[in-house]
């Protein structure tokens, strides 16, 4: 019924399709997004922070005052402001500043890569199940529901235990465990968006399923995925630390921020709070930056806000 009504309003399906495409191409989507994002102060600052952290990690050998792996146990646990060691020393007598500088190499990688790798897979699964629905779509989502039944950490431990410890395996394990969560977000968004008029309009206008999925749905389900994905980035640092703590993650003495925080935990209440707090603060700042960028991207992706 509705589709007939809509169909009547459209003069020529082909012409309508052209118009939509022409509108989108009149100004490229990334450019529109970037323009919107630049107006978001918080997002700009956050990008600045992450760029800074990344540069520091890349140029770590030039910046770090000490070897991050070699400590002097006779000076261990000395606090902030120790001569020669601005941020103090950890439980092995290693310079905390140097470890933070090198630590970005591990923590930023582990924050971004698994999410980036999981996103396209999640997008594919979620959109497929959400758009086509039916038995196959339901079956796919029920399989994901089964994976939901396992706590994330448990699943990650199982995968990491099979693969063996190491940074690459941790990222793989985390990436795999994130797929169901991200796919669920895409699925929900797809189901919601599929029911909206513009999809029906496109369908009525004669757009193929591939066109609908790619041109109509994808831009609209991308924004919740991007927001969710960036909010996961901070969490990934902590999850990776948890796996390391259980012996299946980044292996010591790698100066991963999460590992540094959990190392410091044992002396947290003994008057050496700096060992855990400093890397903990860096994780907090990085995670917050990821989240704010996520919010910024969501707004920027919102077609209503792009046009103004």
């Amino acid at each position: 019924m509705t589709s007939t009504t809509l169909g009547q309003k459209v003069v020529s399906p082909v012409a309508a399709g052209d118009t939509v495409a022409a509108q989108i191409k009149s100004r490229s989507r990334p450019a529109l997004m970037w323009r919107a994002l630049r107006r978001d102060k918080a997002a700009v600052v956050s990008i600045g922070i992450l760029v800074f952290l990344t540069l520091v990690a890349v140029f770590a050998p030039l910046l770090a005052p000490y070897d991050p792996l070699d400590g002097d146990a006779s000076q261990r646990l000395e606090g902030i402001g120790t001569p020669g060691h601005l941020l103090g020393l950890d439980g092995q007598g290693r310079d905390i500043l140097s470890r933070l500088i090198y630590g970005g190499r591990y923590s930023l990688t582990v924050a971004v890569l698994p999410v980036l790798a999981a996103a396209p897979i999640a997008l594919l699964i979620g959109m497929f199940a959400g758009y086509f629905g039916g038995r196959t779509g339901n079956a796919v989502m029920r399989v994901l529901d089964v994976l939901f039944a396992f706590p994330v950490v448990l699943l990650a431990i199982a995968i990491a235990a099979v693969l063996g410890p190491g940074l690459a395996n941790v990222m793989l394990a985390i990436g795999i465990t994130m797929v169901p969560y991200m796919a669920r977000v895409v699925y929900t968004a797809t189901v919601q968006e599929s029911a909206k008029e513009y999809v029906e309009a496109a369908r009525a206008a004669g757009a193929t399923q591939a066109q609908i999925l790619r041109q109509q749905l994808m831009p609209n389900v991308m924004s919740p995925l991007v927001v969710y994905g960036t909010s996961l980035c901070g969490l990934m640092i902590v999850l990776a630390a948890g796996l390391s703590f259980l012996g299946v993650g980044v292996t010591p003495p790698a100066p991963d921020w999460g590992v540094m925080t959990s190392d410091g935990r044992s002396v947290l209440l003994e008057g050496y709070g700096h060992v855990a707090t400093i890397p903990g603060l860096v994780i907090l700042v990085a995670a917050l930056a990821f989240n704010l960028i996520g919010d910024g991207i969501r707004d920027a992706l919102d077609p209503h806000k792009q046009t103004s």
């Binding site: 792996l69 070699d70 400590g71 146990a73 006779s74 261990r76 646990l77 439980g91 092995q92 007598g93 235990a161 410890p165 703590f245 259980l246 012996g247 299946v248 292996t251 010591p252 003495p253 190392d263 935990r265 044992s266 002396v267 947290l268 209440l269 003994e270 008057g271 050496y272």
Partner: protein, 549 residues
């Protein structure tokens, strides 16, 4: 405490007030418990009270024959007794090796040829279920652990206690109070092994209870003869024991004991500070000095607890003795003990842990000498060092703080050019992997262990006990060593045996088959209310003498 408040809130007014007062009283008494600084005169021992102990992990099954590990034996030992016992009422300074004393056997004789042991049992002892203890009960238990033809034979128990019964030929009840055991060969460590609890232990279980519950269920209904009897267990939460009012010996002062597994060291320390527990095992090394300042008592000892590295003898690099020596020279044991571990351990230079008759504290084989290590590596053809892997657990019974310790070793070895990767695994998985033997490509494996008999050395070095058929995880094999250890194990008198064990240790040192690192002082931290606790030269303790003020 929280429950008290909750209940109070639902009661009528008068009830609420009394509940509030009760809560206040509890609060005051809890504060009293936390006030460890109150170190006034202790006064005379008094009966009563519940002792709460924060232990470092949940225990294995409460079946003394089946259970492995020190943590579990510390609980089982309070409920179960063996034929012979150890005097744990003395500290390590007073008695470096706990004396063997009568347990369920009042006395015993060993035949001239060392082949027959006759035990005269204590009269009038009853199990917690009222069953009389007699020679038949002993035979029942020994056959459960050693005789595959016996109805109640238990595979797991046999596996865990094979180190005790391996040379047993027969066990007989001569009369209701006499048991005779014959051996297939003289076995000088036998009596001492009867008292050990690192693997399975030989505590005597009520035969009636075993018949009633069977080999699997008995762990849920522990029934022994010990000074404490089982009340309940909530896995992961607590194990409660109460005083055995019918105990044959001196009865304990405590009404009850609660063992609370608190696997995280910081949590244990916090629980002690908050007065939730009265004593804790294994404080984190960095908390010890501040706990002492706060008035808590730290009881240390010198038990047979060696933290060591086993070398992979089949590894192309570590098969060279010079490499193994170099690693031994490169590790700064003093630094690790004093700096990293804050004096909670002693540096270890002997492959024999302390607290056994053959131990010699003075002998220091591989004192820290990185230059010597570099020379040895150069001689072996590794002037530029090499890469290898060290496998370690991340936690576990008696492992102290394995990862920071491994990182410390990693840095020391890096200084002489050996680049070490750490392969870290959670404890239970680690134990399984370790028991399989050090895998190819891995050069070293960490472990903590020891016994109050030098016989322990055989466990980790005998070529007949190579993994997976024993704990010689590095596949070390030296026929000369095997020969000396065989003589030591079958020697008829202790002096000869000790001499031979020292020779054996000497051979292991020459081969540098292991790298002893530190000996744990096994610290316990007690609140000021806990009196009469003795930390002896063993990994376990007695609670009979403990009282609360």
């Amino acid at each position: 405490m929280l429950t008290t408040f909750d209940r109070g809130a639902r009661r009528p007014r008068a009830g609420r007030l009394s509940a509030g007062l009760l809560a206040l009283a509890l609060l005051v008494s809890a504060c009293g418990g936390a006030d460890a600084a109150d170190n006034g005169p202790a006064g005379d021992p008094q009966s009563g009270g519940t002792l709460a102990i924060g232990i470092e992990s949940d225990t294995d099954v409460l079946d003394p024959h089946r259970a492995g590990g020190w943590v579990t034996y510390r609980v089982n030992r309070q409920m179960y007794e063996a034929l012979v016992d150890e005097d744990l009422s003395k500290t390590s300074e007073e008695a470096p090796i706990p004396e063997i004393i009568p347990g369920l056997a009042e006395s015993w004789e060993v035949s001239e040829d060392g082949m027959t042991y006759t035990f005269h049992l204590r009269e009038g002892v009853t199990f917690h279920d009222g069953t009389d203890f007699d020679a038949e009960a002993v035979v029942f238990n020994v056959r459960r652990m050693s005789d595959p033809t016996f109805e109640f034979y238990d595979d797991r128990s046999a596996g865990q206690t094979v180190f005790v019964w391996q040379h047993l030929a027969s066990v007989d009840a001569v009369d209701p109070l006499t048991v005779e055991m014959t051996m297939t060969q003289p076995f000088s460590a036998f009596l001492r092994l009867l008292t050990q609890g690192g693997g399975g232990s030989t505590g005597i279980i009520s035969p009636t209870a075993l018949e009633k519950y069977g080999n699997d269920e008995i762990a849920d209904h522990p029934t022994g003869t010990g000074p404490f009897r089982f009340v309940d267990r909530i896995r992961g939460q607590r194990i409660t024991l109460e005083r055995n009012e019918d105990y044959w010996g001196e009865k304990p002062y405590l009404d009850s004991v609660v063992f609370r597994p608190l696997p995280d060291p910081s949590t244990r320390v916090s629980a002690l500070r908050a007065g939730e527990v009265d004593m804790i095992a294994v404080p984190s090394p960095d908390s010890v000095s501040s706990l002492e300042e706060a008035g808590f008592e730290v009881a240390t000892s010198a038990p047979p607890h060696l933290w060591y590295l086993a070398f992979n003898m089949t590894d192309p690099i570590f098969s060279d003795v010079r490499v193994r020596q170099a690693v031994n020279y490169a590790i700064n044991r003093e630094g690790m003990s004093e700096d990293l571990l804050q004096g909670t351990v002693n540096p270890a230079y002997s492959v024999l842990p302390p607290a056994n008759s053959a131990y010699e504290a003075s002998e220091e084989y591989f004192e820290y000498d990185p230059e010597r290590a570099k020379e040895l590596l150069a001689e072996a053809g590794y002037a530029d060092g090499f890469e290898t892997t060290l496998m370690t657990s991340v936690d576990g019974s008696g492992q102290i703080v394995p990862v920071p310790m491994a990182e410390y070793i990693q840095q020391d070895l890096a200084d002489v050019g050996i680049r070490v990767e750490l392969d870290t695994t959670e404890w239970i998985t680690y134990l399984t992997e370790w028991a399989e033997g050090i895998p190819a490509g891995t050069g070293m494996a960490q472990m903590s262990w020891g016994m109050t008999t030098p016989y322990w050395l055989r466990n980790v070095t005998s070529s007949t006990l190579q993994a997976p058929n024993g704990s010689n995880v590095g596949h070390y094999s030296n026929p000369a060593l095997d020969e000396v250890m065989q003589q030591a194990a079958t020697a008829l008198d202790e002096a000869t045996a000790d001499d031979l064990w020292r020779q054996a240790a000497e051979i292991v040192h020459e081969d540098a088959a292991m790298a002893p690192i530190v000996n744990d002082k096994a610290p316990y931290v007690l609140s000021g209310d806990v009196q009469g606790f003795v930390n002896p030269s063993e990994e376990w303790y007695d609670l009979k003498s403990v009282w609360l003020r």
